[in-house]
């Protein structure tokens, strides 16, 4: 048990750092799935599996706009988990499907953990309100530091718990997997592309000529696809 936990630590530390990037610091989007899952895959020994998982997750994450107070899935830690799982089981036909499923579910849980963190920040702020209103030096810095530390701990624990939960479950599911690689990936790619396409469509709603740009792009995309095959 202890050696297993130790082997998960590097991934959990990366999960913590990338979880911090989602909102608290520095929001450079190293927490986006295409980066985070690739890193997770690299840590687990297969960067390409991490990249493919990251690309699929990025398509799904495109629809989520991290706007203000809205509650949304937290993709940073979840993508590290997904990338590491895809790399861990990369020889098995259903690995990508199971890794992406685990990642989306973890992102959902991560969204709730961020909601909890924001509530906790609120508790700390209420407790220090008198000091804030008095303009006491050090109060705002203390609140910021506490928020950063709590977010780092949140990302670390979430990644570790997710890995401890999903790895044995994925191992069992994949040992009973009957579908081939191609049909599994057809469904996976289609669902992800549908979510991304509808997100782009919604983003561009009300913008003149946007549909013509879409049509032009589609013709170009399919032409490149045919030529490259």
């Amino acid at each position: 048990m202890i050696p297993e936990l130790l082997s998960l630590l590097p991934v959990a530390i990366v999960g913590a750092v990338l979880g911090l990037d989602v909102v608290s610091f520095p929001q450079a989007m190293i927490s986006r799935p295409i980066v985070a899952a690739t890193l997770g895959g690299a840590l687990a020994g297969d960067i390409t599996s991490g990249l493919v998982a990251g690309a699929v997750l990025e398509m799904i994450a495109l629809e989520m706009l991290p706007v203000g107070a809205s509650r949304y899935p937290e993709w940073g830690t979840a993508s590290v988990v997904g990338g590491a799982m895809a790399a861990e089981f990369y020889t098995l036909p259903g690995a990508a499907v199971v890794a992406i499923f685990a990642s989306i579910a973890t992102a959902w849980a991560g969204g709730w953990s961020m909601y909890g963190l924001r509530r906790l920040n609120g508790v700390w702020v209420r407790r220090e309100l008198g000091m804030l209103e008095a303009g006491r030096p050090g109060t705002v810095s203390g609140l910021q530091l506490r928020g950063l530390t709590a977010d780092l701990a949140r990302g670390f624990l979430l990644t570790l718990i997710a890995l401890l939960f999903w790895l044995p479950l994925a191992s069992w599911v994949l040992s009973h997997w009957t579908l081939g690689r191609t049909p599994s990936h057809v469904v996976l790619a289609a669902v992800a592309a549908a979510v991304a396409g509808s997100a782009a469509w919604r983003i561009s709603q009300g913008v003149s000529m946007a549909r013509w740009f879409f049509l032009g792009g589609l013709v170009a995309g399919i032409a490149i696809l045919v030529l490259r095959r």
Binding site: V23, F25, P26, Q27, A28, M29, I34, T38, A42, G50, L51, V52, A55, M59, I60, A61, M64, L65, V67, G68, A69, V97, V98, I100, F101, A107, W108, R118, W124, V125, A134, G135, P137, V140, L143, Q144, G147, H176, L179, R181, T182, H185, V186, V187, L188, V191, A194, V195, A196, S198, A200, S204, V207, F213, F214, L215, A220, G221, L225, R229
Partner: protein
């Protein structure tokens, strides 16, 4: 102040939102007030700046620069408070449209295009991080400078052509990039993960036209349904359900 801007959301909460973060970012400038750190002017200004505030975090740099300037210029507190309240809306909506609904999907789709064109993992990651952060850091630096230069008259800087037309231009670019990148990304996902010792080139050949056409057709149908169900269902929840059904089917059959 610029480094502190990167952590402006560290204590984000539902009560004061960005307020304490804004106070944290402005605090170094307030040390220059008469009396220095801990003086009466410092304490009053810090208390004022740590109250409720909300904006898109990158665009908050405009408010940080402008408010720091206003405090150091000794503007009346009522005027500063009115400005803080007035800036929340524009800095939020402009930032959301330009960054979250524009620059972020644009950069992500550019990386997906690189992925679809079979770029290696480090290159795909680099394309995303370099493009996105050129805009991200550029915006924060510009915001801080524009705010500092304009002070309480900074609103005129927000009416520039780039900020007025940027969201619409980016929306069109997002539409076009999505249409180019998604079929190519589907293709690459379908090629599967190269399993040694089978050479990658053989994996590429193994993916038939039927598989690609099926995936494109499924994506088009499901995408159209998601557009129709706009705002009633979130795509990631649909993806979760579809993958759960696929997993159960594959294990149980």
């Amino acid at each position: 102040m610029f480094t502190r801007l990167l952590a402006i959301q560290a204590s984000w909460n539902y009560e004061l939102m960005l307020g304490p973060g804004l106070g944290f970012c402005i605090e170094p400038a307030l040390r220059l007030l008469p009396g220095g750190r801990g003086g009466a002017a410092y304490r009053e200004a810090l208390a004022r700046q740590s109250r409720y505030f909300n904006a898109q975090p990158y665009f908050a740099s405009v408010a940080v620069g402008a408010l720091a300037r206003a405090e150091l210029d000794g503007r009346p507190p009522e005027q500063i408070e009115r400005f803080r309240t007035a800036m929340c809306g524009p800095l939020g909506s402009l930032g959301d449209r330009l960054v979250w609904a524009g620059w972020l999907p644009f950069s992500a789709l550019l990386a997906l295009l690189a992925f679809g064109l079979r770029a290696d993992a480090p290159l795909v990651v680099l394309v995303f991080l370099v493009v996105y952060n050129a805009g991200h850091l550029g915006l924060r630096v510009w915001g801080l400078k524009a705010g500092w230069r304009g002070g309480l008259r900074v609103a005129s800087s927000l009416g520039g052509p780039l900020l007025r037309h940027g969201p619409a231009v980016l929306s069109r670019a997002v539409m076009m990039l999505a249409a180019v990148a998604l079929p190519l990304a589907i293709w690459r996902v379908l090629q599967g993960l190269p399993v040694p010792p089978v050479p990658e080139s053989e994996m590429v050949r193994a993916v038939g036209g039927v598989a690609i056409a099926s995936a494109l057709l499924m994506a088009a149908i499901l995408g159209a349904v998601l557009v129709r169900l706009h705002s009633r269902v979130e795509g990631w929840r649909v993806a979760l359900v579809v993958l759960a059904v696929l997993i159960i089917y594959s294990v149980a059959r």
